[in-house]
């Protein structure tokens, strides 16, 4: 009885919050102060055609670093707990045979998905997308590969090497910004280039490449760790 009353009170409170926020977003016509600053000065200061990418990598680059660090922590905790289980059993596991359609299709589609992921994080400063999205797309390509071929072993040493090198390079480029430009993760130490070209926006494309590789290898590590510790029965 008390539990139901409690749930009811929580739901009422949630509804009140939602009503409040509905009234708040009524006037979405004009940008607030910070957003106006970003929208007006962003193209000149950062030089990225995708303003969201400029905010994520340069203005709020520290937040992106925090997100990548949290993702790394999650991936390493999952790997740690699953690896203990993996050491106990050396017996090769039996798997159900995958359908021929999936197997054939994955051979054609997986390289295209990888290529699309690379395209997304390479063009992160020009078109919608960026390091996180590209990395996630690469990891979903790996999921398709593992679904079609469940016995396949993913090489974990390559994943961890790529991951640590790109994480190191990300922080290194950020620190380079302190010495050569005006602050941590400032992108203007390379030269902004022409607005809207592939080689523009200073260090943003390079940072996005490293973020994409890092996120992609972390998510691939999570998926392949989970996949290797599955116990399937025929």
């Amino acid at each position: 009885m008390f539990k139901k009353v409690f749930i009811f009170i929580v739901l009422i409170g949630f509804a009140l919050i939602l009503v409040e926020s509905y009234n708040f977003t009524g006037s979405g016509e004009e940008l607030n102060e910070i957003a106006t600053r970003y929208a007006e000065k962003g193209p000149d200061e950062v030089g990225a055609a995708n303003l969201v990418g400029a905010v994520l990598v340069t203005y709020r680059g520290l937040d992106t670093l925090g997100e990548v660090a949290i993702l790394f922590l999650a991936a390493s905790i999952i790997g740690f707990f699953l690896k203990v289980k993996l050491e106990e059993e050396k017996v090769p596991r039996k798997v159900r045979k995958t359908s021929e359609i999936l197997e054939t299709a994955s051979k054609i589609i997986t390289p295209v998905i990888f290529l699309f992921g690379i395209y997304v994080f390479l063009n992160g400063h020009l078109t919608p997308g960026g390091g996180f999205q590209g990395g996630a797309i690469i990891a979903s390509g790996l999921v398709l590969m593992l679904l079609a071929n469940p016995i396949k072993k993913v090489n974990h040493s390559i994943i961890s090497i790529v991951e640590s090198i790109s994480g190191f390079a990300f922080v290194f480029l950020g620190i380079l910004g302190i010495f050569l430009a005006s602050g941590f993760l400032d992108n203007s130490f390379i030269g902004l280039g022409d607005f809207g070209k592939l080689l523009s926006a200073g260090a943003i494309p390079i940072i996005y490449i490293f973020i994409g590789l890092k996120v992609g290898s972390e998510l691939s590590g999570i998926v392949s760790n989970l996949q290797e510790t599955q116990k399937e029965e025929i």
Binding site: F132, A136, I137, A139, L219, I222, Q227, T229, K231, E233
Partner: protein, 84 residues
């Protein structure tokens, strides 16, 4: 006008899928419904002019997390059967 109609249909689909995910007894149906919520939400983000968020939601929310839920579900099911 047509965008508003699509948005309303998407919102109804999201609510329906969310209720299905909570109320259904089978966990597999719940996982697929939760993935569908993310998929519809990503189309919604696209309508709200946020393609970056839409890409993240489609790739992580409806792709990877659904697969990870399935892997974990399979794992805990087998563990529970062995321990009993």
């Amino acid at each position: 006008m047509i965008l508003k109609i699509i948005a309303i249909i998407l919102a109804l689909a999201i609510i329906f899928m969310a209720l299905l995910a909570v109320l259904n007894k089978k966990l597999i149906v719940s996982i697929i419904a939760a993935g569908a919520v993310s998929l519809f939400a990503s189309v919604f983000y696209l309508l709200l002019a946020a393609p970056d968020v839409a890409m993240t939601e489609a790739a992580i929310g409806s792709g990877l997390s659904t697969i990870i839920f399935f892997y974990v579900l399979n794992k805990i099911k087998k563990d529970r059967l062995e321990n009993v």
